[in-house]
């Protein structure tokens, strides 16, 4: 500190920076720090709010009892929790194979061809398409013709949202695999599909997994597309997934916008569970990636 002192004092005199330049520079620095601080503050505000309101509402009942009726005490979130797990799993089961294969096509077969470029571009559009429109699309595709809401429709809607994430990450990760590995596989006389499955996929395994986790984080909290597809259920849904399937996001939406204290407490508990599950997935992907590199 002592050694810095004279330097620190001398700086303005030594510096040939004009005051106006210095002012704009300082303004930029202060604003950047301020905005970053604000961002972090908002994050902790949201997480803090979830913890304060959610933890007090958490109990073993939340995981074992089904949703209470309006103005009824007690109950839990067992049916929406399980329903959400089922819908997310269904979405991932549909999206993962298609997404991995499509990403593989772009990375290994399509490469720089015109069609692959178009698919890449469209996939990026799908990636940011408003999720409520996906809900509308699946409604006209699977709800209206079959005369009823269903878990299948909900799963398909979530799959459509997950798919582009998986396609993109799979392609990106497979492209990182060095060409020598592929050549080595081919030199052993293995056909392309075998090389892809046993060499490229193996090498890109961790990265591809992050894509799947990212997609899961993306769909776990999706509400809008479920409003028109799986809707909700106050009880256990049918194992056949026909009819409304209870799910956490729509339950949170209904409970949070209702006046009942018990419902609001459960909405906070559900929000806490869903947010920390999603943040956990995001952190897991970062850990996997940082290990890989």
């Amino acid at each position: 500190m002592q050694a810095d002192q004279p330097l620190y004092v001398a700086k303005p005199f030594v510096s040939r920076v004009r005051p106006s330049r210095r002012a704009s520079d300082r303004a930029l620095k202060i604003l950047s720090m301020l905005f970053t601080a604000l961002g972090i503050f908002v994050l902790f505000w949201i997480l803090g709010m979830l913890l304060v309101k959610g933890v007090s509402a958490l109990s073993i009942d939340v995981f074992t009892k089904i949703t209470p009726g309006p103005g009824t005490e007690g109950g839990g979130l067992a049916n929406p929790l399980i329903g959400s797990i089922v819908l997310t799993a269904l979405g991932m089961l549909i999206a993962t194979p298609i997404g991995v294969l499509a990403g593989t096509y772009l990375a290994e077969y399509g490469k720089a061809s015109k069609i692959a470029d178009v698919i890449r571009f469209i996939n990026d559009i799908l990636l940011s398409a408003p999720s409520i429109l996906i809900g509308l699309f699946v409604y006209t595709l699977l709800v209206a013709p079959f005369g009823g809401y269903s878990g299948w429709a909900g799963g398909v809607a979530l799959a459509i949202i997950a798919l582009p994430v998986i396609v993109r990450t799979t392609e990106d990760m497979m492209r990182l695999v060095p060409g020598q590995l592929r050549e080595a596989g081919a030199a052993l006389g293995a056909p392309p599909s075998v090389v892809i499955r046993h060499v490229t996929w193996r090498a890109a395994r961790a990265g591809m997994l992050t894509g799947v986790l990212l997609a899961m984080a993306r769909i776990a909290g999706e509400t809008a597309p479920l409003l028109f597809t799986a809707l909700n259920n106050n009880f256990w849904f049918e194992p056949s997934l026909m009819g409304g399937v209870s799910n956490l996001p729509v339950t949170i939406y209904q409970f949070a916008s209702a006046p009942y204290d018990n419902w609001q407490a459960l909405a906070w508990a559900g929000s806490l569970i869903i947010t920390f599950a999603i943040l956990g997935l995001s952190i897991a992907t970062r850990l996997i990636l940082s290990k890989g590199h």
Partner: protein
């Protein structure tokens, strides 16, 4: 939460999910009777082990879903007209009655601590009265300290039978309302913010200071919301409770309209609450026979065993003769045997 506990809980849940009864009844629509249907469903599940998955999405939604065949029954507080029932092949019958109250959130004013007339309510909802201490309100409430604050009007953003009853009442007491806005499940509201369902309106009134909204009385009661008293046709201010709603229904002519479609607004009588309504169930004639029977069984059970539950929530059970007439209709139209 320890992982082992979580696994145990997950296993338990999976087991109970699989044991879910496959013969559940599905219904959707009006939010007005939702607290009642939820309690009925709880008791029915305990006695018959059949669940009712009722989605409280508003009467507009109930009418749409039954027409689109996505549910076993639809629910609406706005009775459909005879020709509409005919074209869509629907059977309509009431399940219970209830009252609508103007819920308020004004500092220092408790339940029933404010008096309003229909005309003043209409002017508030027309945006002509904008402050709580407006002369029109203060004049009705000498001795009540009213804040110098803007009135936050809350209405229903969804298609709603409660909105229909409310706007029908305002049309009866205000010519300006009748000519400018009219009565329907959704209208072009001149001022205010929208809440989804009776739930959303109650929540907004609860949260937003200096607000007023209209909700079925059970919502105000369960959530301890303050409400205003409304002058009835005879100029009296009855408390909104069971006997006031019953008084409004006292001289109802249930056979005046097809499908028991009566309107109970602004009825004469000292005791009568001015904004009262029946709530209706819609079932398809061409619906799945077994599902129709299951839905009717539920309401049959509710007519026989659900009166106390209804009264506890301040809904009004139907008179015995009306129930008999409804059961007769079921027998004729849907081959239902009690």
């Amino acid at each position: 939460m320890k992982p082992m506990n979580f696994l145990a809980a997950a296993g338990f849940l999976a087991a109970s999910a699989i044991s879910a009864s496959a013969a559940d009844i599905t219904g959707a629509g009006a939010t007005f009777p939702f607290p009642l249907y939820a309690k009925w469903a709880e008791a029915y599940k305990a006695s018959a082990n059949i669940g009712l998955n009722y989605q409280s999405i508003g009467s507009g939604g109930g009418i749409r879903q039954i027409k689109a065949k996505t549910v076993d029954f639809g629910a609406s507080d706005m009775p459909l007209k005879g020709d509409e029932l005919k074209t869509d092949g629907l059977i309509q019958f009431p399940s219970a009655m209830g009252g609508i109250v103007p819920a308020i959130n004004v500092q220092g004013v408790g339940a029933g601590g404010l008096k309003l007339t229909g005309a003043v309510l209409a002017d508030i909802y027309l945006g002509k009265i904008t402050k709580w201490n407006d002369k029109a309100i203060a004049g009705l409430n000498s001795g009540v300290t009213l804040p110098d604050a803007a009135i936050n009007v809350v209405y229903r953003s969804d298609g709603s039978g409660t909105s229909f009853v409310w706007t029908d009442y305002l049309s009866r007491v205000s010519d300006e309302w009748k000519s400018k806005i009219g009565a329907n499940t959704s209208v072009s509201w001149p001022v205010g913010v929208g809440g989804k369902g009776n739930e959303g309106v109650s929540a907004s009134v609860k949260q937003v200071p200096n607000s007023i909204g209209y909700v079925e009385y059970a919502y105000a009661k369960q959530n301890k919301l303050a409400f205003a008293l409304v002058a009835n046709k005879d100029g009296k201010y009855p408390a909104p409770e069971n006997k006031a709603f019953q008084a409004a229904a006292a001289n109802a002519d249930w056979n005046a309209a097809p499908g028991f479609g009566i309107i109970l607004n602004n009825q004469p009588g000292d005791e009568a609450w001015p904004i009262t309504s029946a709530t209706f169930i819609l079932i398809r004639k061409d619906g799945d026979a077994a599902k129709n029977q299951a839905a009717l069984k539920f309401f049959d059970w509710a007519y026989s065993n659900g009166d106390k539950i209804a009264t506890d929530l301040d809904y009004v059970p139907l008179p015995t003769n009306v129930k008999a007439a409804i059961r007769q209709t079921w027998g004729q139209e849907l081959k239902f045997t009690h």
